[in-house]
Amino acid sequence: MDLATLTSQLHALGEEALPKIAAAPDVATLDELDVAYLGRKGGALSSLMRGIGQLPADDRPRVGVVVNEVRQAVEAALEEARRRTADAALAARLVAETVDVTTPGRPIARGSLHPIVETIGRIAEIFGQFGFVTYEGPEIESDATNFQMLNIPPDHPARDLWDTMYVDVEGGLLRTHTSPGQIRVMHTESPPIRALLPGRCFRYEAVDASHASEFFQVEGLMVDEGTNLGDLRGLLDEFAHAMFGAGRATRFRPGYYPFTEPSVAFDVGCLVCGGVGCPACGRTGWMTILGAGMVHPVVLRHGGIDPERYQGFAFGMGVERIAMLRHGIGDIRVFLDNDLRLLEQFR
């Protein structure tokens, strides 16, 4: 074996290997070629290199240069081919993994909160910004707390305003409004008082689209030395704007409750027609959302508060009414029906 022969064999090996590598279809073929040409034992290059020992010592470094040239060329070709086939494999995988992205996602379980409780929370939040503190009272009250202490004596004609359900516990009745809470708060707190009293109420009332025998009210009470009708107006305006939108018109007009004097009915511009007049507002352009007034001196006295020094206002609103207006609900009965088709809309 002479130098020229070995050199030409080495070059021939390179010329044979490079097209095969270039044509290799996959990594496995490249691995076979790698072993076949570059394998330490039995690889074609290693086999040729065994011939180096037969060369004269002077020629050996020259052959070494050629060996390295060939090895590097083959290695570079293999690396390039590996990168190419990996890219192709990835591309093929991505194509194969294509899905129909238009299908719906997998829904996450999510419940909902009842509009009555949520509306109470919203009312409490709005009045909370004005320092109103939430309290609660019992639902089973007595004639004294539900009526008499609120300036509604027995056999008073105003009792027609509250058809009452009575229960078989001594002197008991189901509260017809949250107003008894006024007295309870006056007994536990001293002025300045800003109180909010949400809760369930009961009336002996035939149920229809706008009347329920069980319903929820929120009572408000504010008592201090100078609290006046203007404060009530200002506060209710803020409430109406927060609840029904900043531009909502409001109206203050006389009402009647035995436990307030003067008494107030508070209207907002019709939420259906905006005030032009429609069937929903009885063509008046207005919807009444709550009753209010300056706490009657008799009620303050029953609460242990000196009506000469202190004065204040109270208001009471039907939660269902607010919720119906807010959510476009036309029938009060849906609240206690709990049809999931309705409730789940509040998700």
Binding site: N228, L229, P254, P258, L336
Partner: protein
């Protein structure tokens, strides 16, 4: 109250159109709830003149008429009435007319003759109550005019509040209209000619208890002719919603609507005479066993509190509520006694309720009556009867209390009025406002006090010189008693809209804990976990509590949240059996919600409610408590095409309890078998306890309860939990456990135990045996089957060990695991599964 504007015009000039008037009254405190065009249904009903009236060729009972209704050809109309004659003017309903009761008038053929419309009776038009004959209109009625233009009227439906009995009449409302518009109100002229015998020769009245009847005024009209009232009177009554009866009865109703004064007319012929031949009336309460047939022809046994108008022979009428049939004014009546009295309001109200006879009269009596009206009402009714029914009015009145109280005086401080209202009206401006409703005022006399409350005792305050004024309140304004009443009157007349609003700028109250906080925290967590919040009625059927049998005391053990296992609280006047008792627990209501939604085709239901239970405490007082209840039925998780449906199971329910405990910061709940399962599956019911903060039952509903509720779901999981602070507590802040600096060791320990060993017991043993390095231990698998023997199970636990100050060595952890294995082996006979 229905207010026909045409009638109201008798007492006040009206310049405003009806809508504007309605708004003005509403802003004055008399809310107009409705504005109705009365008679608008008389479109296509016109005035016609009968030209000919002949017999129908083929029907004896019908007439064939020709009627001229205007310039065109006369109309041929078939008519069944007999009171018609040529020359009369009559209402003609033309084809296309729609009469009251939606009666459509068409061109028809009657027995072979074409009829181009219909001649109308008063009743058919609801213009009078006469349905016998055709309504004959006055001769001068313009031919061809539409009836709605002639007789139609605007009727306001005014909501008169209970404190304003004085305005429950046209005169009272006219006063308010006058105050609102600046017009002046006119009181009706009581034209009365007393041409009969002196009253005390024909009538005697004795009032036994003046407390129940403070004033009784009697008059008598003799020789009346009872007949229908004049047509315009009938029309007014009908427009006001009252049915005409006869000229005498209508006179009492007319005066009541006009003046607010209920009166009653007796047939004097039915009243017993005294020794002097006078009709003798007695006002007394009923005696034992007395009975009376009232005007509605119901024979009533009278309770002893009932105030009566009686004669020597017995009861004639229930005073202020309803007359008796025997003394009713009828066609045969010749002499009429008029009763115009003031009765005790409470007595009348109680009587009206007792007999369920709340009438227009009793409604007015129970609001209190101005004494003066007793006299005026008697005069007015006598005058109307004499005008409409003829007869002579006996001279003078019987009057048991002729002295009429003058106006009341109510002190007020103009500055105090402004302080209450937030206004700055000077005293003269306030006085001018009051004057618009006839309330004069003047400076208070020196030394007089101002009354600020009249209940529970009179409460008045001394005022400085010149500080107060006195309002001189007309006798009809019985609602103005204390200073605040005057303040309301002032702001009402000024207009509530003149009160300018401002946000409150006075001292803020103390901060108080929000009683909704803990409930809200739970609500949000449960909704986020996929449960829908419901709010159900507290009133349930009496049968429900018994049927469900949910043990109220199951939640014992949570301090401050005890339930009372007493009898249910029952409504004594329920609206229906379905809402007759207060529930003791919430689960039954959730079953109702499930049943309702199943009826709508909904199978997957996950709901919760935070609601109250109620019962009678041992001392008879009512008790109320809060509970959290939830229900799971159908598939867990929202249905989806890309996820297999998985039915809810008991572990889901226990998971919800676990979540509740997490929200509340409580120890992990322990579940123990609730052997006394009812109303739960006896093998699938657990008592859950999370420390002392949460306790209750969770389990699968007993199949028999599901059947009782008619549920479709095969398995339903329910729970009801007592929770500390649910009635108004706060959420405890999260306390953070430091994250260890050294890596934890996780070891899995599979313990083979007999089936009878409860996982919770093994867990308790593991926790008790674990040293300080055992951070957590939890069940992650249960295995049954080969190579385990039958009746064995393998509980696989994952234990986490760590120390704060060092990395644990493997052999240290191995020793800990060994201790756990040994402890369970000795406690439960377990062996390590390898």
């Amino acid at each position: 109250m229905r207010v026909p504007l045409d009638w109201l015009r008798d007492y006040v000039d009206l310049q405003l159109d009806p809508e504007a008037l309605a708004e003005r009254l509403t802003l004055l405190g008399f809310e107009v709830k409705g504005l109705e065009r009365w008679g608008s249904e008389w479109r296509n009903v016109v005035v016609g003149e009968l030209l000919t009236v002949e017999k129908h060729p083929r029907a004896d009972r019908l007439s064939l008429t020709t009627v001229r209704v205007g310039a065109g050809e006369p109309l041929q109309i078939v008519c069944g009435a007999t009171n018609i004659a040529p020359g009369q003017r009559v209402p003609v309903a033309l084809p296309g007319a729609l009469l009251p009761g939606n009666r459509a008038i068409e061109r028809t053929e009657k027995m072979g003759v074409v009829s181009n419309g219909m001649l109308c009776s008063g009743d058919e038009l609801r213009l009078s109550v006469d349905g016998e004959g055709i309504l004959i209109l006055p001769a001068g009625t313009p031919l061809g005019a539409a009836l709605t233009d002639l007789y139609g009227d605007w009727v306001l439906d005014v909501d008169v509040k209970p404190n304003r009995g004085d305005a429950l009449c046209l005169v009272g409302l006219a006063r308010e209209v006058a105050a609102a518009t600046g017009a002046s109100a006119r009181f009706p002229e009581v034209g009365l000619t007393e041409d009969g015998a002196p009253i005390d020769q024909v009538l005697a009245v004795h009032v036994e208890d003046p407390g129940l009847c403070p004033r009784f005024v009697g008059r008598m009209v003799r020789g009346v002719g009872v007949a229908p009232s004049p047509q315009d009177v009938q029309r007014r009554l009908l427009a006001a919603g009252m049915r005409p009866v006869s000229n005498v009865v209508d006179a009492t109703n007319y005066a009541m609507l006009e003046l607010g004064k209920p009166t009653h007319a007796f047939d004097a012929g039915a009243v017993a005479r005294d020794a002097s031949g006078r009709a003798g009336l007695l006002v007394r309460t009923a005696g034992a066993g007395e009975r009376l047939e009232t005007l509605d022809h119901v024979e009533r046994s009278l309770s002893e509190e009932t105030l009566l108008i009686a004669d020597a022979n017995g009861p004639l009428a229930i005073a202020g509520v309803m007359g008796g049939a025997a003394s009713e004014v009828a066609e045969s009546t010749v002499d009429v006694i008029i009763e115009s009295a003031v009765f005790d309001p409470v007595s009348i109200r109680r009587t009206a309720f007792r007999y369920a006879l709340r009438s227009e009269a009793s409604l007015r009596f129970e609001k209190g009556q101005e004494s003066r009206l007793a006299r005026i009402g008697a005069d007015r009714v006598a005058g109307l009867i004499a005008t409409w029914a003829g007869g002579s009015v006996a001279a003078g009145r019987i009057d048991t209390a002729p002295d009429e109280a003058g106006p009341a005086r109510v002190g007020y401080r103009p500055a105090r009025v402004n302080r209450l209202l937030g206004t700055s009206l000077d005293p003269d401006a306030q006085a001018a406002l009051l004057a618009r409703v006839g309330i004069e005022s003047e400076p208070a006399t020196a030394g007089s006090n101002v009354l600020i409350a009249a209940d529970p005792t009179l409460h008045d305050v001394a005022v400085g010189p010149g500080e107060a004024r006195e309002a001189i309140v007309p006798s009809w304004r019985r609602d103005l008693i204390v200073e605040a009443d005057i303040a309301e009157e002032i702001v009402r007349l000024a207009g509530y809209e003149t009160v300018s609003g401002k946000t409150p700028d006075t001292s803020m109250p103390h901060v108080r804990p929000n009683p909704l906080e803990l409930r809200d925290g739970l609500r949000h967590a449960l909704a986020a976990a996929g449960l829908v919040e419901v709010v159900t009625p507290a009133l349930v059927p009496a049968s429900q509590a018994a049927a469900l049998g949910w043990p109220v005391r199951a939640a014992d053990g949570v301090p401050g949240e005890q339930a009372v296992d007493g009898p249910v609280v029952t409504v004594t006047n329920p609206l229906s059996e379905r809402h007759s008792v207060l529930r003791r627990g919430v689960v039954g209501s959730l079953l109702d919600v499930l049943a309702l939604n199943e009826r709508h085709g909904r199978a997957d239901v996950a709901i919760f409610e935070i609601g109250k239970g109620y019962a009678q405490a041992p001392d008879g007082s009512p008790a109320e408590w809060w509970r959290l209840a939830f229900l799971l039925a159908g598939s867990a998780g929202p249905p989806a095409w890309n996820r297999p449906a998985r039915p809810f199971d008991l572990d889901d329910a226990k998971g919800v309890v676990d979540l509740v405990g997490h929200v509340l910061g409580l120890p992990e709940p322990l579940f123990t078998l609730h052997a006394d399962g009812a109303p739960l599956h006896p093998g699938r019911a657990a008592l859950a306890m999370a420390g002392q903060g949460c306790a209750g039952l969770v389990g699968e509903l007993h199949p028999s309860i599901g059947a009782a509720w008619d549920l479709r779901a095969e398995r339903v999981f329910v729970a009801e939990l007592a929770i500390a602070g649910l009635a108004g507590g706060q959420l405890a802040p999260v306390r953070v456990v430091p994250i260890g600096r050294f890596p934890p060791h996780e070891r899995d320990i599979a313990l083979v135990v007999p089936e009878s060993v409860a996982a919770a017991d093994v867990l308790a043993t593991l926790r008790a045996a674990g040293g300080t390095t055992l951070r957590r231990v939890g069940l992650f698998d249960i295995y049954r089957g080969t190579p385990l023997a039958a009746g064995e199970k393998s509980l696989a636990w994952r234990a986490v060990f760590a120390a704060e100050d060092r990395a644990l060595a493997d052999d240290e952890v191995d020793a800990e695991v060994g201790r756990l294995v040994a402890a369970t082996a000795s406690a439960h006979g377990s062996r390590l599964r390898t």
